[in-house]
């Protein structure tokens, strides 16, 4: 399948059981100059003190931090939903936190992040569902696809818990299902494809005129 010729502007990731390992595996393959902001909901115990950022930072070249409310989203930064808060994206591409009631028994909920990110980024959004033992994120991924974005799911067989990837796959027609270690490289391809296909188009135009 050919890659879409599009300038993606954000990546949203949802993960649950087994997610810390999976997130680390994906993030560690992305270079420091990766141009998209990355927004992540990893399900966590609501009263856990969040050490996720420092755990993930160990192997990652990108800068990883816990999201702060009304923070302006910047390219190349990884934002994590804090424990016990929903993470949302405002239309003007700022982050918002909320303590609205749980959705899919979860706060933070993946669906809320994905759905609000679709509003802000429309078809310029990549959604990724990793390992997990519930179905949060499936509805959100469907919204991403409906808006013309790109949907990526971890291969259920390579996932520590397959329920979440399976639910995502049955909720929508996913663009790509990949084993964990191929996800990072594929994301890079997706993002690097745009300048190349743009150049190709330009030279086509030149030749035809």
């Amino acid at each position: 399948m050919s890659l879409p010729c599009k300038e993606f502007q954000a990546l949203v990731i949802g993960s649950s059981a087994g997610g810390v390992y999976a997130l680390s595996a994906v993030l560690s393959t992305l270079p420091a100059d990766f141009s998209l902001p990355i927004l992540i909901v990893q399900h966590m115990h609501p009263h856990s003190k969040s050490q996720l950022a420092s755990i993930l930072q160990k192997k990652a070249q990108l800068s990883i931090r816990e999201a702060e409310e009304k923070e302006r989203i910047q390219p190349g930064v990884v934002y994590l939903a804090p424990p016990n808060y929903h993470l949302l994206v405002e239309l003007d591409r700022h982050l918002a936190l909320s303590i609205d009631e749980r959705v899919n028994y979860s706060r933070p909920a993946i669906d809320l992040l994905f759905e609000s990110a679709v509003d802000a980024y429309r078809d310029k959004l990549i959604g990724l569902i990793l390992t997990g033992a519930n179905s949060d994120g499936a509805a959100g991924l469907r919204r991403i696809k409906q808006a013309g974005g790109y949907a990526l799911v971890q291969d259920p067989q390579s996932a520590e818990a397959d329920a979440m990837p399976l639910a995502a796959c049955s909720a929508t027609s996913v663009d790509k299902v990949l084993p964990l270690h191929e996800i990072g490289p594929h994301l890079l391809q997706l993002v690097n494809h745009y300048p190349r296909c743009l150049n190709a188009r330009r030279s086509e135009l030149k030749h035809s005129s």
Binding site: E69, K70, H86, L88, L91, A96, L97, S98, D119, A147
Partner: protein
């Protein structure tokens, strides 16, 4: 699906209609959360779009009241964030002891769990008798519940745990009596609490305060409205007064940050500096 851009226009118009007709001002709230709630209401009322909802709230006050409930997020707990209450005991109570009487304002008190927590803490520290507490919210439905001081018994396990983690050493069950499904908070806790309706978006200062708690309210506001509310707090606090925000909220980006200093940075507790230092 309809043009998503139209949806956002319709949402703005709905909020404007609410303001014009009923005076509640949601125009400067963070939109992502509001939009989700409005869409949720659409779905359960089986209305085709936000404009249709606008029409029905304008013409049917019950429909508006329903939406108003949907739009307010009243999730709360007693001794929520135990480490915050611990900091309150350790760093704020000693400061409050210096004042001969205390005025304490809970802005956005929801169903009251927070103000009852404060009442318990003040009793244990021997400060309750000299304190006047004001518990305010814009939502009269939750305010009524707060005044009643009756909470679902199912929540009490969590509250007790929070209380103990926050450094409480009494028997928590002494503060309420259980009636079937409900826990009725001890009457003496509300002797010095005044419950009243106050909207941070439209109302003004109503007294000089020594301590203001406004937790998990500002996250729902945009920067302008946060600024307005923080202005009210700055104007209400006496010198040496204390402001407490929710654990993900901050005065850092507001016009008023220079009037305050951190006294418990992690817990978002701020001291109002004397005027000549700010």
């Amino acid at each position: 699906m309809d043009d998503p851009h139209n949806e956002n226009i319709e949402l703005q118009l709905l909020l404007q209609a609410i303001h014009l007709k009923y005076g509640y001002d949601f125009r400067d709230y963070a939109k992502a959360s509001i939009k989700r709630r409005v869409l949720h209401r659409l779905k359960s009322s089986q209305l085709p779009n936000i404009s249709a909802l606008q029409h029905s709230i304008l013409n049917d006050v019950r429909c508006f009241e329903q939406l108003l409930l949907d739009l307010s997020i009243n999730v709360t707990e007693m001794f929520r964030d135990p480490s915050f209450y611990q900091a309150l005991r350790e760093t704020v109570i000693p400061l409050l002891r210096e004042f001969p009487f205390l005025k304490i304002w809970h802005a956005g008190c929801a169903t009251g769990e927070e103000v009852y927590s404060m009442a318990i803490l003040l009793k244990e520290e021997g400060l309750y008798s000299r304190a006047q507490l004001y518990a305010t919210d814009m939502n009269e439905v939750v305010l009524k519940q707060a005044k009643d001081g009756i909470f679902p018994i199912s929540r009490l396990k969590q509250y007790t745990e929070n209380y103990q983690k926050s450094g409480g050493r009494e028997a928590f069950s002494d503060y309420y009596s259980a009636h079937y499904e409900h826990a009725v908070m001890d009457k003496s806790l509300k002797e010095n609490i005044l419950f009243s309706d106050h909207n941070l978006a439209t109302d003004g200062v109503f007294g000089e305060m020594h301590l203001i708690m406004c937790r998990n309210v500002l996250i729902y506001f945009n920067r302008e409205l946060q600024n307005r509310a923080l202005g009210l707090f700055a104007d209400s606090l006496c010198e040496g007064g204390v402001l407490c925000l929710g654990s993900k909220e901050s005065i850092r980006f507001s016009d008023y940050s220079r009037q305050f200093e951190d006294i418990a940075r992690e817990e978002k507790i701020y001291l109002k500096k004397p005027a000549c230092y700010s």
